[in-house]
């Protein structure tokens, strides 16, 4: 029970779906108001700025396709988080696993150039899955055998891999005679094909949608998915049911890492064709917001990722035209999460005047 300002919130016996939806809408409106205030802080006209953002994100077909390009890595990392969080395994390392996949993809794209394109694509997919899976396996096995908090170990591994990559880019993998920290570009035939002609939207987007379906089937239509979800809901009961928690836990981390790794491989093969440190703007962290807002469901992830992809895409046009920094996007994402989480909880209560004697 919560009491503030003479009002008491009491738990409701049942929360209806319309009420939940209404609460989330109220949360979004509140987040919108805060975002508007933030834009005003930058000294810009709020409607002007939001107008440019919307137009830049969804204004025409080209803009929308570019929004999907921006959404693609977010769908991958968002799905990675869904699998983990469904088992209450808090994988904060999607960022590092994404980079592990990107590393593998880059190596394959640079070294196996003699093979035909489609073969390289398949190898890149497999390679980035394995690399991400390994980077997820480490915290998984440490948790299962030693009880090490996966939250801390995954965050630490993000830093470890970034320093490893920055070492590789400063020497062994560096493009000769280049000032920037980057590898050489790999040849065009190794690149994922575009799925919308003359756009940057690539095969990775299709893969991410297929993967969403696979994750849905895995979680809700297989015995293993049932195990994952029941561990997330009640680990103790799951043990009595004979579920081998530790084994499942390690597998969940491997799958989650593999999905994020595939996301990294897809970005390299579909978009960048080379490894740099700025290929992710924190996709692995944004993914946490996406997965939570998407209610830990693949369809929710796709919807929120496209919304966030739009924010990223539209913010460029907003910055050019109104001077409001692109950084606003990360701010909005955090604010939305806070308000939606709050609204969700408040929807499970009803408000009454506090009675003086209880």
């Amino acid at each position: 029970m919560i009491s503030i300002f003479g009002l008491t919130l009491e738990p409701r016996k049942k929360t209806s779906i319309p009420l939940q939806t209404a609460a989330i809408l109220v949360g979004l409106v509140a987040a919108f108001l805060v975002s508007a205030a933030l834009i005003a802080t930058a000294g810009a006209n709020v409607f002007n700025a939001l107008g440019y953002m919307f137009k830049g994100a969804y204004g025409d077909w080209d803009a929308f396709v570019e929004t999907l390009v921006q959404a693609t890595p977010l769908i991958f990392t968002g799905l990675a988080i869904v699998v983990a969080f469904r088992a209450k395994v808090f994988n904060i390392g999607a960022e590092g696993q994404f980079f592990a996949g990107a590393m593998a993809a880059t190596w394959i794209g640079l070294h196996l150039t003699g093979l035909p394109g489609p073969v390289v694509w398949v190898l890149i997919i497999i390679g980035s899955i394995i690399a991400g899976g390994i980077w997820g396996f480490i915290p998984g096995i440490l948790k299962a055998t030693l009880g090490a908090s996966e939250i801390i170990t995954t965050v630490m591994l993000n830093y470890v891999i970034l320093y490893i990559i920055s070492y590789l880019l400063s020497g062994p993998w560096r493009e000769p005679d280049q000032f920037y920290l980057q590898t050489a570009w790999f040849p065009d035939h190794c690149r994922f094909p575009a799925v919308v002609p003359l756009s940057r939207l690539h095969l990775g987007f299709i893969i991410s949608l297929v993967l969403a379906a696979v994750v849905y089937l895995l979680l809700w239509k297989t015995p293993f998915g049932f195990e994952i979800r029941s561990i997330g809901i009640n680990p103790r009961a799951s043990r009595y049911k004979g579920i081998r928690i530790k084994k499942t836990l390690v597998l969940v981390m491997v799958i989650s890492g593999a999905i994020a790794g595939l996301g990294g491989g897809s970005e390299i093969a579909g978009l960048h064709q080379q490894l740099r440190l700025d290929i992710s703007t924190g996709y692995g962290y944004t993914a946490i917001i996406i997965a939570l807002l998407g209610r830990l469901h693949p369809v929710g992830v796709i919807i929120v990722a496209i919304f966030f992809g739009g924010l990223v895409n539209g913010s460029t046009s907003m910055q050019i035209n109104t001077g409001v920094p692109v950084a606003l996007v990360h701010c909005i994402q955090g604010v939305v999460l806070i308000f939606v989480l709050t609204a969700e909880v408040l929807a499970t209560y009803r408000i009454r005047r506090t009675e003086i004697d209880e």
Partner: protein
């Protein structure tokens, strides 16, 4: 290496150990109080970032470093007030709430930095003159020991000589400290005794945020003299690991923090004397050590029993 060179190396190693441990130590002491109240607060990184950012802006705009520190401390406390509202009042999953705090802080500080320092680019970052080292008269002239222990920043003295004993006294010698520790073990019993559980948890979180804020402000105002969005570099997470490794006890936490400081200084010193080894690989050492620390430390007995479980009155 000759003897003089070795002594100089050792002095800078040990004095660097204290300096580098300070921000993590602040944050870890704050987190100790928070976790003793039963709240698992994962927003340390975010609170440190808020402290670093607001501390820097305050110091830069007012010209007073101490005002900056004060504002940084307040920013950390304010951010954790939000954490308290989410985790104590709304009882949002504490892991989720803490992560939310981190993401929110990262987004907000990055955005505000861009707005406040519009004309600056990555090649001409705004910077300020950092705090000076305070040499304590007489003591600092003791050979070796004076250089190591008594030529530090004032904030380091405060962390080790004021905050640490203060927290020890509070936890183990006052009624309130006893109540706080009991809340972390059995909030229901304390509630029945009439102790206001949520008030303790609110205050613990605000204090924890202030300490993290102080640690963050130390990074911008004493160490770096500038702000970049990656400045915390995982130190908030390392602080959480240090609380585990220090078995939720103040003095062991100090030793753990110093150990991390030593390792970090060691890799800096090795870079400094030009050993041919990729410095990026050396930079991974503190993170790898943190992984090792939580892998070993998880079996310790000092964890509050009710840590991370929201307390709901039946």
């Amino acid at each position: 290496m000759n003897d003089i060179f070795q002594t100089v190396f050792l002095i800078s190693l040990l004095s660097g150990m204290i300096r580098i441990a300070t921000p993590i130590f602040f944050a870890a002491l704050g987190e100790l109080i928070v976790e003793r109240s039963g709240i698992l607060n994962l927003g340390v990184e975010g609170a440190m970032l808020a402290g670093a950012f607001v501390g820097f802006v305050g110091g830069f705009l007012t010209g007073s470093l101490w005002l900056g520190v004060l504002l940084g401390i307040m920013a950390g406390g304010l951010l954790n007030l939000l954490m308290a509202f989410m985790s104590v009042t709304l009882k949002v999953d504490q892991t989720v709430a803490g992560l939310t705090i981190n993401l929110f802080s990262a987004g907000l500080t990055f955005y505000l930095f861009r707005i406040i320092f519009k004309g600056f680019g990555s090649s001409n970052l705004p910077n300020l003159h950092t705090f000076n080292v305070i040499r304590i008269p007489i003591l600092s002239s003791i050979p070796f020991i004076g250089e190591v222990l008594f030529s530090q920043y004032l904030l380091s003295y405060i962390a080790f000589l004021v905050v640490l004993p203060g927290i020890f006294f509070f936890l183990y010698r006052t009624k309130y400290g006893l109540n706080l520790r009991c809340i972390g073990e059995n909030p229901e019993a304390m509630d029945m005794k009439g102790v206001k559980v949520s008030r303790y948890q609110y205050l613990a979180l605000i204090f924890g945020g202030m300490m993290a804020g102080a640690g963050g402000a130390f990074l911008t105002l004493a160490s770096a003299g500038l702000f970049v969005s990656e400045i915390i570099g995982g130190r908030g997470w390392i602080a959480i690991a240090i609380v585990i490794f220090g078995d939720w006890k103040p003095f062991r936490i100090m030793l753990a923090a110093l150990f991390f400081g030593l390792l970090d200084t060691f890799q800096l010193q090795i870079q400094g004397i030009g050993v041919q080894f990729p410095y990026q690989i050396l930079l991974t050492l503190p993170y790898i050590l943190t992984i090792v620390a939580v892998a070993i430390g998880r079996r310790r007995a000092g964890a509050p029993i009710h840590l991370g479980i929201p307390y709901k009155r039946k």
